[in-house]
C-alpha cells in the first residue's frame, strides 16, 4: 500500500528543495501538500500528488480556527507521516495533534528529522535568552554611563579643517 505523506507549506528557503528531495526519495508514495488558498501552483509543480488549500496565508493572522480546521483534516486522514519545516514549539504541538503515525521536520540542510521538543526546555531557553539580553543591556548602559559619549572626534576634525583653511 502507498505510504501517505502530508506536508505543511512554509516560506523557508529549503521548502521547495526539501519537497523535491522527498519526491525523489519516495517516488511511489502519495504526497499531500497543505497550502494557503491562492498559492501559485507552478512553484510546487512536480513535487506532490495532491494540493489542499487548508493552511493560512503568510499575510493572514494565525488563529485557533485555522489550527482546528487543519487538525480536524489531519486526524480524519490519519497520514503515515506529517512533515513541517521547523522544529518550533507551535509546530511540535500541531504535529502531536495531527494523529499521524510519524511526525518529522526538514532541517535547513534538507534532512528529514523526527520532531523532538521538550516544552520545559523551550520555555527555559526563551526565558534564559530574555534574561541574558536584559543583563547585557544594563551592562552596556552602565558602561556608557561611566564613559559617556563625547563629540570630541567631530570637534577635533573641525579644528583640523580650520587649521587647513
Amino acid at each position: 500500500m502507498k505510504k501517505r505523506f502530508a506536508v505543511l507549506y512554509s516560506l523557508a528557503p529549503h521548502f521547495r528543495r526539501s519537497l523535491l528531495a522527498l519526491r525523489e526519495e519516495e517516488p511511489d508514495s502519495h504526497i499531500t501538500l497543505l497550502l494557503p488558498p491562492g498559492f501559485p501552483q507552478e512553484v510546487v509543480e512536480g513535487c506532490c500528488d495532491e494540493i489542499l488549500a487548508l493552511a493560512p496565508a503568510s499575510s493572514q493572522r494565525r488563529s485557533l480556527k485555522h489550527a482546528w480546521r487543519l487538525i480536524r483534516y489531519l486526524r480524519r486522514e490519519r497520514f503515515d507521516c506529517f512533515i513541517v519545516f521547523f522544529n518550533s514549539p507551535a509546530l511540535w504541538l500541531l504535529t502531536q495533534c495531527s494523529g499521524a503515525r510519524e511526525c518529522a521536520y526538514f532541517s535547513q540542510r534538507g534532512a528529514r528529522c523526527p520532531m523532538s521538543m521538550s516544552f520545559l526546555r523551550s520555555v527555559y531557553a526563551l526565558v534564559g535568552k530574555r534574561i541574558r539580553g536584559r543583563y547585557m543591556y544594563y551592562k552596556i548602559k552602565w558602561d556608557i554611563y561611566r564613559h559617556p559619549f563625547s563629540d570630541t572626534s567631530r570637534a577635533a576634525d573641525r579644528k583640523e579643517q580650520d587649521g587647513d583653511s
Binding site: 516560506l11 523557508a12 528557503p13 529549503h14 521548502f15 521547495r16 528543495r17 494557503p36 491562492g38 498559492f39 501559485p40 512553484v43 496565508a57 503568510s58 499575510s59 535547513q108 534564559g128 535568552k129 530574555r130 534574561i131 541574558r132 539580553g133 536584559r134 547585557m136 543591556y137 552596556i140 558602561d143 556608557i144 564613559h147 559619549f149 563625547s150 563629540d151 570630541t152 572626534s153 567631530r154 576634525d157
Partner: protein
C-alpha cells in the same frame, strides 16, 4: 611562466579566516571567498580555510568539509571562550599550527576590527565585502533614508552612540543576530573601540575593497588599499545567455537578488512600472521574492530559487533592474545579468556605477528616482535594437572583466606575489 591550463602558478601558504559563513557557500560574499580559494588552489597555492564555530550560534560556522576542494580547519569556540583574548588565542594557535605566509581575514563584522591587532602573522590582509568597515550598527552604512555621511574611523563617538541606540532592542530581547553577537563579543559600545578600529587598519598590510568609493573613504590608508571587483563563474551564466525563448514572448523585466530587503529598492521599481503601465506599455516584471504571495498587480514573485534557477530567469529576461538605495559594494546580480546578455538599469551608487557603462551596457539613474528609472526602462522597452546592442556589449564586458579566472589573474596574483617569499 604559466601552467598547462594557461594560468599563472603561485607558490605559498595562504590562510583564509572567515568568521561568518557556513560552508559550502550559498551565495553572495561566501561565493567570493570560495571562488578565490578554489582559483588559487588550482594555481598550485596551498590554501586553508579557518572557521571558528561559535557554540549557541546556529547558521554560522557550519562546515561540510567533504564537499570542499580545499582543506578546512574548524576552530571550536565554546560559550565560555566567546571573549576576545580567548578567541584570539585559539585562532592564533590554529594559525601557528599551519604557519601561513599570508593570512587573509575574510567575512566578519566587528570581530575583524577587534581581532586583527591581536593576530600575529607575517602578512595580514583584509577583504572588505560591504560597508562593515565604516559602521558600528550594520553592514549597510545607511541611515534616515540615505547613505550615512559618518565613518567609524572619522567619527567613532557618533558611531558608538548611533549603534548603541540602534541595537538596544535587539540586545534587550536576547535574540542576537550575527551583528549583535559580534557587537557584544567585541564590546562595540566601549569608548576604546574607535582607537582599536584605527589600529586594525594601521596593522593591515593590505586592504582589498570592491570599488573606488570605498577606497576613497579609506584615504588615510590609501597606499595599502587595492580595488578588486567580485566575479562570476562564467560557464553557467553564459549557457543561460542563449535565449531563443525570448522570441515572440511578452517583454520581461527582472529584478533578482534579495528583493525583500527595502534597501534593494523594490518600491522604486514598482512605482516606475506603474508609471509605464499608465502610458500603455505592456510587460511582465519578475522579482525573486521568497514569498510567492508577494505578487502585486505590477509584479510577479518567484519564491525561493536556487542559483541555477535564477540563471534561467536571466535567460528569459529582456531587461534587468538593480534599483538599490544603499551603496552596493559590488552588485553581483548586475554582472550576472550582463553575462547572460541582458542590459541593466541600475542606481548610480557604490560598485554599480563602475560595473555599468552608461549608455553602452545599460543605464544608470539616481538612487530612489522612479521617474528616471521609468525613463530609461521606456527607452529599452521601445527599442529592440538598443537592447540587443547593449546586451551584447554587457556580455562582452562581464566575461572580459568579471570572470573569476580573469579577476584572479589580473588582481589577486600580482597582489599576493608581492607578499610571498
Amino acid at each position: 611562466m604559466t601552467t598547462p591550463n594557461g594560468t599563472t602558478p603561485l607558490n605559498g601558504r595562504i590562510a583564509f579566516l572567515d568568521f561568518l559563513f557556513c560552508w559550502p557557500p550559498k551565495g553572495g560574499a561566501d561565493v567570493d571567498v570560495y571562488s578565490v580559494m578554489t582559483g588559487l588552489h588550482r594555481r598550485g597555492c596551498q590554501v586553508k580555510l579557518f572557521v571558528p564555530a561559535f557554540a549557541g550560534c546556529p547558521g554560522r560556522g557550519e562546515v561540510e568539509a567533504d564537499v570542499l576542494s580545499f582543506p578546512v580547519e574548524i576552530v571550536p569556540v565554546p560559550r565560555k571562550r566567546q571573549q576576545l583574548p580567548a578567541l584570539a588565542e585559539q585562532l592564533q594557535k590554529a594559525l601557528d599550527g599551519w604557519r601561513p605566509d599570508i593570512v587573509i581575514v575574510c567575512h566578519g563584522y566587528l570581530l575583524k576590527t577587534a581581532l586583527i591587532p591581536m593576530l600575529k602573522a607575517k602578512t595580514l590582509i583584509s577583504r572588505i565585502y560591504a560597508n562593515e568597515i565604516f559602521c558600528l550598527k550594520d553592514a549597510f552604512h545607511y541611515k534616515d533614508g540615505a547613505p550615512c555621511p559618518l565613518y567609524l574611523h572619522k567619527e567613532p563617538e557618533l558611531c558608538r552612540k548611533c549603534a548603541a541606540e540602534h541595537l538596544e532592542t535587539q540586545v534587550k530581547k536576547g535574540l542576537w543576530d550575527p551583528w549583535t553577537h559580534e557587537y557584544i563579543i567585541t564590546r562595540g559600545w566601549d569608548s576604546s573601540f574607535g582607537t582599536a578600529h584605527r589600529n586594525a587598519l594601521d596593522r593591515l598590510d593590505s586592504i582589498i575593497v570592491y570599488n573606488e568609493s570605498i577606497k576613497g573613504a579609506l584615504s588615510p590608508w590609501d597606499s595599502k588599499v587595492t580595488v578588486i571587483p567580485g566575479g562570476i563563474t562564467a560557464e553557467p551564466v553564459v549557457s543561460a545567455s542563449a535565449h531563443p525563448e525570448k522570441q515572440g514572448q511578452g517583454m520581461r523585466v527582472l529584478m533578482a537578488g534579495r528583493v525583500e530587503d527595502p534597501l534593494k529598492g523594490l518600491a522604486v521599481l514598482e512605482e516606475a512600472c506603474c508609471a509605464l503601465r499608465r502610458k500603455g506599455y505592456a510587460f511582465e516584471v519578475q522579482v525573486t521574492h521568497y514569498d510567492p504571495f508577494f505578487g502585486r498587480p505590477e509584479l510577479k514573485a518567484t519564491g525561493w530559487l536556487s542559483h541555477g534557477e535564477t540563471l534561467a530567469l536571466y535567460r528569459n529576461a529582456h531587461i534587468a533592474v538593480v534599483p538599490s538605495l544603499w551603496e552596493e559594494a559590488f552588485g553581483l546580480v548586475a554582472v550576472e545579468a550582463m553575462a547572460a546578455g541582458v542590459p541593466v538599469c541600475a542606481s548610480r551608487t557604490g560598485g554599480l556605477q563602475e560595473i555599468i557603462e552608461e549608455g553602452k551596457t545599460g543605464f544608470l539613474f539616481k538612487p530612489g528616482d522612479s521617474a528616471a528609472l521609468a525613463d530609461v526602462l521606456e527607452k529599452l522597452l521601445q527599442d529592440p535594437e538598443l537592447r540587443k546592442r547593449m546586451g551584447d556589449a554587457a556580455q562582452q564586458r562581464a566575461l572580459e572583466e568579471y570572470a573569476w579566472d580573469k579577476v584572479i589573474e589580473k588582481h589577486y596574483i600580482p597582489l599576493l606575489k608581492g607578499f610571498l617569499p
